[in-house]
């Protein structure tokens, strides 16, 4: 019984952490885009109140089941990613295949964002959904190859083991290409920053065009939560997990996740939105070869 209670408490803590990261992501993104910091910090609360008050709407012949599934599924995926992160000694859901589960969860976003665009039965939504799949083909392969690098170096797919095997030198330092490709992937499945064309403004918001009220709120929270959760997963993968002086491990994980989220979101806010063909070019022609070379370097180091 106490185990169950403990589990519930930990789950609540993780949910709070992911939502806090979502808040940080939203504020940092706004600051990166030029909004004053005070407004950027207060905007999430104001938008939550505004959108909760707003009425829901639908369109003609919308595929409501798939539409709502796509929209409301983003936040649970982010929470599940949070459950994979070893916040202390081990994660809420300890598994020896944490890396592969993290990858599976971010592939779920493929389905969810396309369904979000499809379900609305609107031109803007369809264009956004298809753009997302094209974009996903560009960032997903570099992301998957980037995930191979820390797993190779630690000889394990377990996030806790990978976090523990970074004594001395964080993986982010000697696997920069993998780290960068991973962060690009995070921006991709969070549909933010340079990879936010599926929700781009030239198509009236793309997949967001027909949403209102609570439906829009969960999608926006979900996007930022995905960015935060992706950054949280990067902490054991590339930033040494909970290692650090003085403070206990969970605090370090939270601090690192927060700093990474804020920096990534700030950068995403500063960079312009890339057009989809451009990202496909960059992803396949530049980033993928670099990451494969990175994997080669890691493999050589590990074998030696």
């Amino acid at each position: 019984m106490t185990e169950l209670l403990q589990g519930v408490l930990v789950a609540a803590g993780i949910a709070t952490a992911v939502l806090a990261l979502a808040w940080a992501s939203s504020a940092a993104l706004a600051v990166g885009a030029g909004r004053p910091a005070a407004m950027a910090l207060g905007d999430p609360l104001l938008e939550v109140c505004r959108l909760l008050r707003q009425r829901r709407r639908t369109t003609v012949s919308a595929d409501v089941a798939l539409w709502r599934l796509g929209g409301w599924g983003l936040l649970p995926v982010a929470l599940l990613l949070g459950a994979l992160v070893p916040w202390g000694e081990e994660a809420l859901v300890p598994t020896s295949l944490g890396v592969v589960w993290a990858n599976t969860l971010d592939v779920l976003v493929w389905a969810l964002v396309w369904l979000l665009g499809w379900g609305a039965n609107s031109v803007a939504g369809l264009v956004g959904g298809y753009r997302f799949l094209a974009l996903a083909l560009g960032y997903e392969l570099p992301l998957m190859f980037a995930l191979v690098a820390p797993a190779m170096a630690a000889s394990s797919l377990d996030l806790a083991v990978i976090a523990g095997s970074q004594e001395g030198l964080w993986y982010a330092v000697w696997m920069p290409a993998a780290f960068a490709a991973y962060l690009l992937g995070v921006l991709g499945f969070a549909v933010q920053g340079p990879l936010s064309a599926p929700a781009g403004q030239e198509t009236s918001g793309g997949v967001l065009a027909e949403l209102s009220g609570p439906d829009l709120l969960v999608v926006r929270v979900g996007r930022h939560a995905l960015l935060g959760a992706g950054a949280a997963v990067a902490v054991p993968l590339f930033l040494g997990g909970g290692s650090g002086p003085w403070l206990p491990d969970p605090v370090w994980v939270v601090v690192k996740a927060l700093v990474l989220t804020a920096s990534l979101a700030y950068l995403a806010g500063r960079l312009p939105v890339l057009r989809v063909p451009r990202l496909l070019e960059i992803g396949w022609v530049v980033v993928l070869p670099l990451v494969v070379l990175q994997d080669l370097v890691v493999a050589v180091v590990v074998v030696r």
Binding site: A33, G34, R35, P36, M39, D43, L45, L46, C49, R50, L51, L52, R53, Q54, R55, R56, R57, T58, T59, V60, S61, N121, S122, V123, A124, V127, Y130, R131, S196, A197, G200, Q201, E202, T203, S204, G205, L208, A209, E210, L211, S212, G213, L216, R270, P272, V273, L274, R275, P277, R278
Partner: protein, 352 residues
């Protein structure tokens, strides 16, 4: 109760306004944008999540229906305002905020709206008289659409309910299915007629663009101008307005904000801060180099904002400009070329 009032205050602290420009309403729109910037209210990018509909300029009777269709897209609680005098933009925004905060009135309006507009749950098949409702999809010839951007598929709350499929040929929800035609690669793709305008955010007022889409590529385009010729304003203002709108559409909020600052300086006829114009031009060139905006967009913007004395005559045909581009590029192209677009009505359609 105190908590409800507090939450209501938070919910209406910074309403999202969907700003559309009526023909001849450019200076009013710029005044509204300035007011919104000063208050820190971010504009809405789609009417589906907007609180306020702001119509800038005087609305022609022909476009009133378009504005009403846009109004019906707002989910509520909602407010509406028309700005005819640039100076009263601020007062108008205060007023709409007060209207949004008035909860009992909003609830009343919502109940009336639910009663008046047919809901799919309440209406039966026999009650609907298609003649009364102007959904535009039934009669493509007339200008019945308001919110063009959402095209044929979007009615907000309205739905035609459950159709008996046997009665009419393949027209779910009353909208006919698309026919196929060859696109630029010779593949047979469904053809979608997607109207943009005449009332749309960050769009020249009164320009109605009918696109024939294959997927998201424009195969054919025909344009029509509603409303009279725009009032004369200094060309440089229009040029920097084009820069601001394009950068806003491209997602570069910082650049758009800077461009709006330069535009305001031009309107007020004060000295533009040294170097800011040059910095912004470099920024636009860099965006084209990174392929964030198409090359033609950046070239046009740089030409417009160069120090040349003469203002080019507006003679560009919209149809030729957008043929073969994809849907997102269309918005960027129209925004960047807006001072150059021909302003006569009934333009000839550009054939593929």
């Amino acid at each position: 109760m105190g908590l409800t009032q507090q939450l209501l205050g938070l919910a209406t602290r910074r309403p999202r306004c969907y700003v559309v420009e009526a023909p001849g309403g450019a200076s009013q729109r710029m005044a509204v944008e300035r007011e919104l910037d000063a208050r820190g209210w971010r504009p809405a990018w789609s009417p589906a999540s907007a609180d306020v509909l702001v119509v800038c300029g005087e609305l022609l009777p022909e476009l009133a229906q378009a504005a009403d269709l846009l109004w019906s897209q707002l989910p509520g609680p909602r407010a509406r305002m028309t700005v005819t005098d640039p100076g009263e933009a601020g007062a108008g925004l205060d007023e709409v905020r007060r209207q949004l905060t008035d909860d009992p009135a909003q609830r009343r309006a919502a109940r009336e709206r639910d009663r008046d507009e047919v809901s799919p749950r309440l209406a039966s098949h026999g009650d609907m008289d298609h003649g009364e409702m102007d959904h535009g999809e039934m009669d493509h010839g007339e200008m019945d659409h308001g919110d063009m951007d959402h095209g044929d598929m979007d009615h907000g709350d309205m739905d035609h309910g459950d159709m008996d499929h046997g009665d009419m040929e393949m027209a779910p929800g009353g909208i006919a299915l698309a026919e196929g035609a060859d696109d630029r690669d010779g593949l047979e793709m469904d053809v979608l007629t997607h109207p943009l305008g005449p009332l749309l955010d960050r769009w020249p007022g009164g320009l109605e663009l009918r696109l024939t889409l294959h997927g998201d590529v424009v195969g054919d385009a025909s344009a029509r101008r509603w409303g009279s010729r725009e009032q004369d304003r200094p060309f440089q203002v229009a040029a920097w307005d084009a820069v601001a709108t394009t950068l806003s559409l491209a997602g570069d909020e910082r650049g758009a904000h800077a461009a709006r600052g330069i535009r305001a300086a031009m309107i007020d006829e004060v000295e533009v801060p040294t170097g800011s114009a040059a910095r912004l031009r470099t920024r636009v060139a860099r965006l084209a180099a990174w392929s964030v905006v198409p090359d033609s967009v950046a070239t046009t913007l740089l030409d417009l904002t160069s120090e040349a004395d003469h203002a080019p005559r507006p003679t560009l045909r919209v149809g030729e400009l957008v043929r073969g581009r994809d849907l997102a590029d269309v918005r960027l192209l129209i925004a960047s070329h807006s001072p150059l677009l021909a302003t006569d009505e009934h333009e000839a359609a550009a054939r593929d």
